[in-house]
Symmetry: C2
Subunit: 216 residues, 2 copies
């Protein structure tokens, strides 16, 4: 399997010092996210971008959607796609607008999807649940056949991928360093807030520990 | 200007009850985000998706990038694009995997960009700073000509856009309501953490109030 950024389409051209070619870093970035942005183009080359929940499964990424979704049907039919996962880590507040920027981790995966079917489909859906809501699966009933029939599960291989990480501090022009203005980084974090019980809960149930401890 | 979701390309087909056709809601979703995902397709119809910081300016969205960026040069040349902004608001933890989902606000804008140049370019960059780092501009020096020359500013009109909002509670099958398992929503929020001063600060400066009060 080629390293991230090793193909012509995935070589990072802009700010190449931020490119990462370590496959484990690609995995870590993907594992840290919940939602990516997926694109397909129509027959006139006009792209559409939609958010999708995903989970990494070894050297591929799993996504799932409705069999009624045009996007998913198009992907199942082999449309070329790009899935980009961006984790926003902070605002870099420099002494000029030009040098101000953001810290982020971004993974881009190019390719075409394969349909995951049969027993592998159930396993893939379980893996999605394990990634998005760790610990939840033990409490859930089995998938119903009609639910499986209404769901398309697709796998996008990590054959062509790139990773770009920006984790810096302000890098101002020497000329600007004598300006008496604050500069620094404001870290951003996605946080889980207090769980809110469903209004139709029929039992007095505490929030499960595995839910309370979800963190990003 | 057409309402969100009113064109054939922007009509929400999947889960149409989540579609919003109010232009003010489109504006609010865009104003609440910092980064969107932008796509262009190559001449073989293969899409690429990249994260971009953006700001809404009335009935258009402004983005900026390097004149060295292939993506930005392609957009400046009129490539059809899609900008999608997704705000992840929570995990909907239902009593089945099938009904489990996410709460989100998602805006999708389709079209082609126009280059913003001359005096309008400076104003556009200032508006981007005001959106991404409110209050900051008053402390910054003017843009240098070489900085302006190295930057492409593009405007994507909000002519063709759609908005989808999911803000629900678990909607389980009646059959599943008697299962003794917790269900609910875990809200997600993007939070600003404590600012970290730049290591090369040459003055004893407190974190400015306008930075301390940044909130999402």
């Amino acid at each position: 399997m080629p390293a991230p950024g090793s193909t012509d389409r995935t070589r990072v051209r802009r700010l190449p010092d931020k490119a990462v070619t370590d496959r484990e870093v690609l995995h870590r970035v993907l594992d840290a996210g919940l939602v990516g942005h997926l694109s397909v183009a129509d027959d006139q080359g006009r792209p559409y971008v939609l958010p999708v929940a995903y989970a990494r499964d070894g050297d591929r990424v799993l996504i799932h959607g409705s069999t009624g979704s045009r996007l998913f049907r198009s992907l199942a039919a082999g449309a070329p796609t790009c899935l980009t996962v961006t984790l926003l880590d902070g605002l870099v507040v420099a002494r000029s607008a030009f040098e101000s920027s953001m810290n982020y981790r971004c993974a881009m995966v190019l390719g075409t999807c394969e349909v995951v079917d049969g027993e592998a489909k159930t396993a893939a859906l379980d893996l999605l649940t394990d990634h998005l809501m760790p610990g939840r699966r033990a409490e859930l009933r089995a998938h119903k056949n009609k639910e499986l029939a209404a769901t398309l599960v697709l796998a996008l291989p990590l054959d062509e991928a790139s990773v770009k990480i920006s984790a810096g501090v302000p890098d101002d022009d020497e000329d600007d360093l004598d300006t008496e203005v604050w500069a620094g980084v404001v870290p951003l974090a996605e946080t889980y807030c207090d769980p809110v019980p469903a209004p139709d809960l029929r039992f007095e149930l505490p929030v499960p520990d595995y839910v309370r401890t979800w963190r990003r």
